[in-house]
């Protein structure tokens, strides 16, 4: 085996590591000498966009992250909020876009594995998974294969680990043809006095490696493809990792068992850039140094170099700092779960990451230079031009337009997807997929968590600021619609190339909007992830800042669902419908246009209407509720009718044209159903509170009809809604 550290660092090698000249000069000055090959590799991953957030950090700092119930905001593996009674919800969302495009099954599976580790690292038992997916247009030759692989991968991992996948969102749009988005979110529960952080402490304390062995998986960079440092150069090393959910399950149980003792000082999962970024992060947070003996790293393959061990992204591994003398006890736990356990180093007071291998020092870098000296760019940006309001035509055939929307790719039932996910394991899922938010009981209590992921990329593209607001507001509304109080969000910011000013403008605009909504709704950001460079051949995806919201319900028996429950109930529309068809789904899908300003998000009205609706549910006045979003009023009515297995007879009185009333995507609106007396009370209460309200119809029958102009048999509507996805997926693979 060649000693990789003898390789001379040339400008080409620097470039292959994704570092520019100026960045390389910074490294040399930080170290006071030229880095060797291993050190260069470590700098390159630590300073990558993914680890250093160099293009986004400046703007992320402006987001609101605090509230009295926030225990831990961004900066740790996941965010932590107080949900009362000494309990905390811990959650985060992360992207696995590029790997999922290359190998949809394993890419999506390892995405789920990674986000689970972020959450149980902090001491939480994961209780729910969500997934936000964007695929190319249905007719694109790759789409079907990607949908099928991604869904199978998410299910394959989550089902095996035994954490229910309770919801998500799925969109199809041409802008994702060459770059799909797979964002996964995990929510976990812990006791507030049993939360674990990653800051290392205590000079001399052991650094311990647990989990799977290290292989040459996912090693960064084109450098590896040349494979000149090892014997087995006959095949190009795959950069795709294979997930092992069985090991993950064991790792969860073993970590939680050890966490119940007092042995752990700090713990961190090995995510992107594996051993390197986990040790650097732990050392940096704790203001200490790490000395690692790489000979002790459990290895899956022969002759691994220090470079490979440091950069491997093998899955299902964790790094811990233990209290001295607890090694044997900890080892016994990991052995019981048949997992590797190795003491691979100790904490030093040098402030350096020192790597030893075969008795020699093969790397020696100042920790703070790896973190604090990382470049931060304030990239130039231009805001997206504002659009004027659009005049949006009526459809040729109203009934057909409704059927096409409800039975089309973006509003059809996602049952084909979520029936492949075990959404009930753990026995606490009381609102399964298909509603506004998933609801999972806090085990053994009356409380429940409500979770929703949302973003409307059409709006973010048309007006990033409104789109950013709307994404946050929609999760808030979905959580409200089941009767829970929204508390905080995580996010996954998927954008194109930040070096293009118009993309950076989308990013900045969306973040401004998100920040405004978080502040207005008391709904801070506690964790998140940024995924940039989502583009192929120079064409970027639509800006897609996916938001994952979490709320709490005190009494889970009061929960509302979208299904109409009894015939003869009054249907009440809360909130004002305006002429807002710009950038609507109707405009895009039925008319094939994308023009005009998207709906305006008035955050005060959002809050007022939402608080009103939540109170109705909490008071027990209402148990049927649905918010209005894509597709407008008619889409919400259809969802409620299909879900309840009964029709509705609706009469709209308005100055707006009928198609506007039906398809407008005005914000801050909800539909509720209740018996006639209750509905009348609700109407009065809303009026008194200055909230636009109207009793618009009655549940029941086997037809969905509006003003006699829309009239569709429930059987036909249901078949269209349930049929699209399975029919699409059943079609021949190209």
């Amino acid at each position: 085996m060649t000693n990789v550290n003898n390789i001379k660092i040339t400008p080409e090698i620097v470039k292959e590591h994704g570092l520019n000249e100026e960045e390389y000069a910074r490294i040399v000055s930080a170290m006071g000498r030229e880095p060797n090959y291993t050190e260069l590799g470590i700098y390159s991953v630590m300073w990558s966009e993914h680890c250093s957030y160099k293009s986004s950090r400046f703007h992320l700092k402006k987001l609101p992250t605090k509230a009295p119930w926030v225990i831990q905001g961004p900066g740790e593996n996941a965010g932590v909020i107080d949900i009362g009674d000494g309990q905390a919800a811990i959650f985060k969302m992360e992207s696995h876009n590029h790997p999922s495009y290359i190998e949809p099954y394993q890419g999506a599976a390892t995405g789920v594995g990674g986000i689970l580790r972020d959450v149980f690292t902090m001491g939480a038992r994961p209780v729910a998974n969500m997934n936000a997916l964007r695929f190319g247009e249905p007719d694109h030759p790759k789409t079907r294969h990607l949908v099928s692989g991604v869904v199978e991968g998410i299910g394959g991992y989550g089902n095996c680990v035994g954490v229910p996948t309770v919801g998500g969102e799925t969109n199809f749009d041409a802008s994702y043809n060459g770059n799909i988005l797979v964002n996964a979110m995990t929510v976990g529960l812990a006791d507030t006095d049993k939360i674990f952080y990653c800051a290392a402490a205590g000079v001399g304390n052991p650094v311990v490696y647990v989990g799977s062995k290290t292989g040459r998986d996912g090693i960064h960079g084109a450098t590896m493809a040349s494979a000149e440092f090892t014997e087995d150069s006959e095949e190009k090393r795959p950069t795709v990792q294979v997930g092992d959910p069985f090991t993950e399950k064991l790792l969860i149980e073993a970590c939680l068992e050890l966490m119940a003792t007092d042995a752990i000082i700090a713990i961190q999962d090995m995510g992107a850039a594996g051993l390197t970024s986990s040790s650097v992060e732990m050392a940096s947070k704790g203001g200490v140094g790490f000395e690692l003996n790489l000979d002790n790293v459990p290895q899956r393959e022969a002759n691994m170099t220090p470079y490979e061990m440091c950069l491997s992204e093998s899955q299902e591994r964790m790094l811990m700092v233990l209290k001295p003398g607890r090694e044997e006890m900890a080892k016994a736990i990991f052995e019981k779960w048949e997992l590797d356990f190795a003491v691979i180093g100790e904490i030093t007071d040098t402030g350096k990451l020192t790597l030893k291998f075969g008795g020699e020092v093969v790397g020696d870098m100042p920790i703070n230079s790896l973190v604090e000296d990382a470049p931060e760019y304030e990239r130039p940006y231009v805001y997206t031009d504002k659009r004027d309001a659009a005049d949006v035509a009526a459809p040729a055939d109203l009934n057909k337009a409704v059927l096409d929307l409800i039975g089309g790719p973006n509003l059809c039932s996602r049952r084909w997807i979520w029936e492949q996910y075990d959404h009930m394991v753990m026995g606490d899922t009381i609102q399964r997929p298909g509603g506004d938010a998933a609801v999972v009981r806090v085990h053994g209590t009356e409380k429940a968590l409500a979770i929703s992921t949302d973003v409307t990329p059409r709006y973010c593209y048309a007006d990033p600021q409104q789109g950013g607001r709307q994404a946050v507001a929609e999760t808030w509304r979905n959580i409200t619609a089941v009767g829970a109080t929204p508390l905080a969000i995580t996010n996954c910011l998927n954008f194109g190339n930040p070096e293009r000013p118009e993309i950076m403008g989308q990013f900045v605009g969306c973040l401004e909007g998100m920040g405004e909504a978080c502040r207005a709704l008391d709904y801070p950001i506690v964790s998140g992830n940024v995924s940039l460079y989502n583009e192929t051949n120079g064409s970027g995806i639509m800006p897609t800042p996916a938001i994952g919201g979490v709320g709490v319900m005190k009494d889970n028996e009061k929960m509302a669902t979208i299904a109409f429950k009894n015939a003869g109930e009054a249907i009440v529309l809360i909130g004002e419908t305006k002429d807002e068809l710009g950038a609507s789904l109707y405009q895009k899908q039925i008319l094939g246009e994308d023009a005009g300003a998207p709906p305006f998000v008035d955050l005060d009205i959002e809050r007022r209407n939402g608080d009103f609706v939540r109170a109705l549910i909490e008071n027990g006045q209402v148990s049927t509720c649905h918010d209005l979003s894509d597709g407008g009023l008619i889409a919400a009515l259809a969802d409620m009718a299909i879900s309840g297995g009964m029709g509705a007879d609706v009469t709209l009185e308005s100055d707006l044209q009928l198609h506007t009333s039906l398809f407008s995507e005005s914000q801050a609106r909800y539909l509720v159903a209740a018996d006639a007396d209750t509905a009348e009370t609700i109407r009065k209460e809303a009026k008194d509170a200055g909230i636009p309200v109207a009793v618009i119809g009655t549940t029941g029958g086997d037809t969905l009809s509006v003003n006699g102009d829309v009239s569709i048999a429930m059987s036909e509507l249901t078949a269209a809604h349930e049929g699209w996805l399975p029919n699409y997926m059943a079609k021949a693979a190209e």
Binding site: E152, G155, G156, N159, C160, V161, G162, D244, P245, F246, T247, K249, L250, K336, W337, E338, W418, E419, Q420, Y421, D422, H423, M424, V425, M426, G427, T429, I430, R441, N556, E557
Partner: protein, 220 residues
Amino acid sequence: MKSAVIVFPGSNCDRDMAVALEKITGQKPLMVWHQDYDFDKVDFIALPGGFSYGDYLRCGAMSARSHIMKEVIKRAEDGVPTFGVCNGFQILTETGLLPGALMRNANLHFVCKDVKLKVENTDSLFTNGYDEGAEITIPVAHHDGNYFADADTLDRLEGEGQVAFRYADDINGAQRRIAGVMNAKGNVLGMMPHPERMIEPALGGSDGRVMFESVMNRLG
């Protein structure tokens, strides 16, 4: 009724089973880690669902060869009521305590949803609480629930009343839509649907509860 839940590496419905047993029997079950095969005497042994050993190689294959299963087989042969759900059912067929095998679902997809079941035998240890001809709703969540046995075995199972539950609709390709079978003695039941997930209205219904209550009735 004192019960035990056997836990293998990768079991993931063990807690669900324990919660259901405690809610229904009023007694906390013994959680038995697969290496602790010398466990106390119990009235009821449950093999939970999940993915023991990741379902690698074949579902239930590795658990079936574990030391603790030797003990479970011995007790089952001595007449202790023994119940396997999903992965537990797969383990029971892999050990030979129940006939047949569970293959990949015919459409190759994992399926998680409520299904309608016909209770085929309402006299048994496990099903005496159901009304004759009852149709019940219980969720499934599996990738390998496609029950297979040769025609003679199937005839025998049906003839001897060993088919406990049958799917109302074909959901996974199972021969004769069989969802759950018992051994000849009637003290071992394996089924793919998860009764422990249907024990209270908040979860969508209580049809699963009756299965556990049936055993309690018999054991007195």
